[in-house]
Amino acid sequence: MYENKDVLLSIKDLKVYYSTSKGIFKNSAGYIKAVDGVNLNIYRGQTLGLVGESGCGKTTLGKGILKLVKPFGGNIYFNIDGNSHDTINLHEKEFRSFRKQVQMIFQDPYASLNPRMTVRDIIAEPLICLGSMKSTNEIDKKVYEVAVMCNLHPEHLSRFPHAFSGGQRQRIAIARALVLNPSFIVCDEPVSALDVSTQANILNLLIKLKKDFGLTYLFIGHDLNVVAYISDIVAVMHIGKIMEIGTTDDIFNNPTHPYTRLLLRSVPDVDKENIKKLRMFSRAFSEKFTNSHGCNFRSRCEYAKEICNKTAPSLRTLNSKNEHFVACNFAEDVIVSEYFYKKKAV
């Protein structure tokens, strides 16, 4: 994919399973395949948007990249300093050198800041743990610098998180992610917990920081408008698998996978109470598909045919530019029907 560009991070067949084993001796093994064979390339300086319903494994994929969850299989290659490193089997100690390069912004700014620490201590934590600075003065200076960059008032540094609104908290989280000058940041739905007026604020801050520091983002979201606004490339995920990937333009103007089209039609408006339901729904799905072959979207797909029960479609390209990939056995039919659909509408 996009071979001429500079790949920062290459994920090959990544699998992250959560065990659901029960019983005293954990004998009844079961898995939730939260991420089930994902292949992705993330290009330096670009923003990859990752969309999908709640519970489809987006956060798990992000956590997998940062080794916050144990992967079940696959490879994650970091291309840093001209070398490609497979980090999947590294121990925490060996992974430390990558920690400086990859940071994360969490979804809920009310949960991701330790309420017992001052803002200064929160932002300084990566510096203290991974940085080369030793003196408190140096650390203070750097924290101050980053805080100002993230539009935080220096006076706020001595306060505790309870003094701040969601948007301000997310700025603090951004400052923490930025303080080590990383090259890659996983943004896990960084604005979905904020109200609309603050959302634009934070998004613009992220865009500005990306420009200023040449950052690369994996931007996770379920709000399609937000993802379209910030992303260069968009990947659509459904129950642990990537269904379609292409430029933002391709995905939003020329959706080819039936699931993408469903998403775009419904523009899911997932509020907090629904998340639980959806989770249970997708958990039921992922358990159901644990030992099954075939396309995991088939039970909701209007194009499904017999073969979809047997053969799992893999990502394949449809256009000559090699930029738009889709995992569907009948992608061509979808395009055709889309064509007629549009014609009728006209």
Binding site: K26, K63, L66, L68, R96, R99, K100, V102, Q103, M104, F106, Q107, D108, Y110, A111, S112, L113, N114, P115, R116, M117, T118, E125, P126, C129, L130, S158, R159, F160, H162, A163, F164, S165, Q168, A173, R176, A177
Partner: protein, 380 residues
């Protein structure tokens, strides 16, 4: 949650106070919330008073708590007074006790003699005692001539009940505290390892904990207590008792500490600390422990009554502390006979009331702490 806007609006009224609030750390907030709790304040006051009595028992008691007084068996309480039919006195006094014999049973009967006054003096010297390692013989109040006064009367051996209550309060509270402390240290280590590392380690530790938990407590207490050699000194028995209480008490606490670890170790801010490259040690000390130390304190406060009750129960059935050590349980045990309940019910009811008050205080403090421990959710 506290919204910034609501804080901001209030900040117009008192900017400096709001600034304090922003910069207030967790414990300052908890303390502020705690103080708003009336019952919690009352509990603190009652326990503080008891702890004071217990610590300064030697100084506060006018009479040696184990001193026998054959001339005042089951004496009535000699309440200090300032006036009576014979006139007013600036110096408080009590009526002296005279002992007559019952004409039928020939038993000695101690009675107050309103015609004889004993004046009370302050900071007088009396029997020797030790407080926190400091030896002294000065007492807060007493008599000049060494005559004994019994504010709450005496028991069937003529021992001063007031002094015995003071000493018992100290012993019972301290035994509870030591027991809780031992249980807590064990629980923190065992539950902490179990919860933080999880997996097989957790599994093994939990099975072992369950084994300890299913041993019925009363027979275990009895077995252990009966195993005390008869020739042990009261200090040794005291120490062994705290150890037993601690050893029996840890599994419940350890379970809760484990579940706290399990719950908090997957909180986003702990994950964020891992992303920041924090070591296990830093995560445990900077993130995990501070987050649930308040819950642990609540647990400790709530498990206090169990310790005190266990001690009381054991001593009551004669398996715990033994005289000359004095505890609430020992006092109750010596007040078991029908005769005492009939003639001098205060020997039973005063310690019982103290136990009741102490336990209730612990419960209301625990309650108030629980409310206060989450200061970010309820605004001040």
């Amino acid at each position: 949650m506290i919204s910034f806007d609501s804080l901001f609006q209030r900040s117009k009224r008192s900017p400096s106070k709001e600034k304090d609030y922003y910069a207030a750390n967790y414990w300052q907030l908890v303390w502020k919330h705690f103080l708003r709790h009336k019952t919690g304040r009352l509990g603190i006051f009652v326990l503080g008073f008891m702890a004071f009595c217990g610590i300064f028992a030697g100084f506060l008691s006018p009479v040696n708590p184990n001193g026998l007084d054959s001339m005042a068996i089951l004496a009535p309480s000699q309440m200090p007074r300032f006036w009576d039919s014979n006139g007013f006195s600036v110096r408080p006094f009590v009526y002296a006790i005279t002992t007559k014999r019952d004409p039928v049973t020939l038993r000695p009967i101690a009675q107050l003699n309103p015609s004889k006054r004993i004046y009370i003096y302050f900071f007088v010297s009396g029997f020797k005692y030790k407080i926190l390692g400091i030896k002294s013989n000065t007492h807060f109040f007493g008599t000049k001539d060494g005559r004994k006064i019994h504010i709450l009367g005496t028991d069937e051996l003529g021992r001063d009940f007031f002094s015995r209550m003071l000493y018992a309060t100290g012993v019972s509270l301290s035994i509870g505290a030591t027991g809780v402390l031992i249980a807590f240290v064990l629980a923190l280590i065992i539950g902490g390892i179990s919860g933080y590392f999880g997996g097989i380690v957790d599994n093994i530790i939990q099975r072992l904990t369950e084994i300890v938990r299913v041993i019925p407590v009363i027979p275990l207490y009895m077995g252990l207590a009966a195993a005390f050699p008869k020739d042990w000194s009261s200090a040794q028995i005291y120490f062994a008792m705290t150890l037993i209480l601690g050893l029996v008490g840890w599994p419940t606490l350890s379970r809760r500490i484990r579940s706290q670890f399990l719950m908090i170790k997957n909180e986003d801010y702990v994950l964020a600390a891992r992303v920041a490259g924090a070591s296990h040690k830093r995560i445990i000390l900077r993130h995990l422990l501070p987050s649930f130390i308040s819950y642990i304190i609540i647990d400790l406060v709530i498990s206090f009554p169990y310790m005190i009750l266990s001690e009381t129960a054991l001593s009551f059935i004669g398996l715990g502390l033994r005289p000359p050590t004095i505890s609430w349980g020992v006092l109750l045990q010596s007040a078991q006979s029908i005769k005492i309940i009939e003639e001098t019910p205060r020997l039973l009811f005063i310690p019982a009331f103290f136990i009741f008050a102490a336990i209730l205080s612990f419960v209301v403090i625990g309650d108030a702490l629980r409310d206060a421990s989450n200061p970010y959710e309820n605004q001040l």
